[in-house]
């Protein structure tokens, strides 16, 4: 799984597709697969009860489980629903692009994704270890010690290279014009706040990347292992 790439990828797509996509559904699409699953992978406490998947990887990416949320077919299906129910082709296409980016990115770990569900074959590149079953903190430590963290860094650097996409001028000229959502929101939310919210996912992804890296390698001293499939000090899950 990825920790920051899903926050950052939408800006890269936005940069290349301009007025052809709407940023909000692009970002929602990029978050969507994990919105439905991640809380149960790590578990949550509700009073005395702990709700957690008995087999987190199976629940998150497999079948039986919610792995279908990470398939291209599911993204397409939700895109069609958005198109038919809300009548917006722009939102539908943007959602699908964001969702597919997530599904393809998560293919990078050792569990991978069932891209063509209901075909349950897992496509996986094995570049970094899937360690969701070890709990949130060990998972974070492992992710930011291996190639997963480096993959996120690629998106941060690319985002900074395309810095114009984050400017006020770009927001007015492209983001605001491309999608009726922004003028609608602007009726109650000031433009300055909307601009800040537009930049928020990039800020969130980048800041979190730095913070988790400091936590893993300065506060704690988890060893870096940038070998393929690493870090090998964590037990990687496989399909």
């Amino acid at each position: 799984m990825s920790w920051a790439a899903h926050d950052l990828e939408p800006y890269a797509f936005q940069r290349h597709l301009g007025l052809k996509v709407a940023f909000v559904p692009l970002l929602i699409g990029s978050y969507a697969p994990d919105l439905m699953t991640k809380w149960f992978v790590y578990g949550i406490h509700l009073g005395p009860w702990e709700l957690k998947a008995s087999n987190p990887a199976q629940f998150h990416r497999g079948w039986p489980g919610f792995g279908f949320t990470h398939s291209l077919t599911f993204g397409l299906l939700i895109g069609l629903v958005i198109w038919k129910v809300f009548g917006s082709r722009l939102w539908a296409i943007s959602f699908v692009i964001g969702h597919w980016a997530h599904s393809l990115t998560d293919m990078g770990d050792t569990v991978g994704t069932m891209l063509f569900f209901p075909w349950t074959f897992h496509f996986h590149v094995d570049a970094w270890a899937y360690a969701g079953q070890t709990g949130r903190y060990t998972d974070a430590a492992a992710y930011f010690s291996g190639l997963g963290g480096m993959w996120d860094l690629v998106w941060i650097v690319y985002g900074l290279f395309c810095w114009r996409v984050l400017t006020s001028e770009y927001f007015d000229r492209v983001i605001y014009r491309a999608d009726a959502f922004w003028p609608w929101a602007n009726r109650v939310v000031p433009r300055g706040a909307l601009l800040t919210l537009y930049r928020a996912a990039f800020f969130y992804g980048t800041s979190r990347w730095i913070a988790w890296t400091i936590w893993a390698h300065v506060v704690h001293h988890y060893p870096y292992d940038l070998s393929w499939g690493g870090p090998h000090w964590v037990p990687a899950e496989h399909p």
């Binding site: 903190y137 810095w163 919210l197 996912a201 800020f203 969130y204 979190r208 913070a211 936590w215 506060v219």
Partner: protein, 63 residues
Amino acid sequence: MRPKVDVPSRQDLRVFGGYCVAAVVYIAIGVQYLDFMLSVVVGMAYLLVAAWLVPLAFRRLRR
């Protein structure tokens, strides 16, 4: 032919600097209290306060 370099203006750098300050505070809190970093909603709310509300209040007070 000279390659065209896209250089940010002074205003762009000032805005970027503001976000960097907000990021430093966010990272400091996040490293100390990991739960703070877990929610994108909290991240957005924090940024709204740090990068929009506080500078807005500061500008109003200076007037």
